[in-house]
């Protein structure tokens, strides 16, 4: 699995309109719905599951990034959406710092192992300060895709 396989151009928001956690999650879920990554019937349930997850424990893992995530049967295949906030969002993050990059990850309900692989992929990049900084500065979907292609080396298409 590669990031470029689960992230499409349409699923990158270079400037989130919303300045709240819930609003940002909803915006990102809407672009995945528009990109046909989930069924419209599942949309409400997934949104609710994502927000409940945040209420039970923030996915703001610190250092300006948050990774809301959910496994759900309405999800067709593992899909990532990335949103950037220049102002910073209050995710009640572990380090209490504002979140500038939100990576929303959805996986089908049945495959826990593949979900963990996707998380590994996301965090493998996020734990590098260089990647986090570049993501925070990437001001267009193209810049995000180029950053990811760069991390994947010459194999990336």
């Amino acid at each position: 699995m590669k990031l470029s396989e689960i992230l499409s151009h349409d699923a990158i928001i270079s400037q989130l309109c919303s300045d709240t956690r819930d609003g940002a999650i909803q915006e990102l879920l809407e672009v995945l719905l528009a990109a046909d990554q989930l069924s419209s019937q599942g949309y409400r349930q997934i949104l609710q599951a994502l927000l409940e997850r945040e209420a039970n424990g923030s996915t703001g893992f610190g250092k300006g990034v948050a990774v809301p995530h959910c496994q759900h049967r309405a999800v067709k295949k593992t899909a990532l959406a990335i949103g950037r906030s220049t102002k910073g969002l209050d995710f009640n993050a572990l380090d209490k710092a504002p979140v500038y990059s939100v990576l929303l990850l959805l996986s089908p309900a049945n495959d826990h192992d593949r979900h963990l692989q996707a998380m590994e992929l996301v965090f493998g990049n996020l734990q590098r300060p260089g990647f986090r900084n570049a993501l925070r500065q990437a001001s267009s979907p193209k810049a995000v895709l180029e950053l990811i292609a760069g991390t994947e080396g010459s194999e990336a298409n």
Binding site: T59, K63, L94, H112, D113, L116, M119, E120, Q127
Partner: protein
């Protein structure tokens, strides 16, 4: 001032296996990191050749430890033994999951 003894510097290890069906996903990873941070000892988790800091959520999330994955916990420091026992117990209980 505390005096460091040779016992403080000795690394101890413990093998564990992930029992719950969802594996080491975000919630259990955070439980484990929270627990690790309560100890003074330096704590690491290895999966094969991959070695991560047990006190860093970002690093622990890169383990992708699925059900049945074998991990090696290692600890160095004054409360190393207690830390490993507590971490191994949390893992053995499947983080309160099935």
């Amino acid at each position: 001032m505390t005096q460091e003894t040779s016992a403080d510097r000795r690394e101890i290890t413990k093998q564990v296996k992930i029992p719950n069906s969802l594996g080491l996903h975000a919630r259990p990873a955070m439980q484990l990191v929270d627990l690790a941070n309560r100890f003074e000892a330096s704590l690491q988790i290895a999966k094969g050749n991959q070695l991560v800091d047990a006190k860093s959520i970002m690093q622990v999330m890169t383990l992708a430890a699925t059900q049945g994955t074998k991990l090696t916990l290692s600890a160095t420091g004054p409360d190393a033994t207690q830390a490993l026992a507590a971490m191994a117990e949390l893992i053995a209980e499947g983080f309160g999951e099935e």
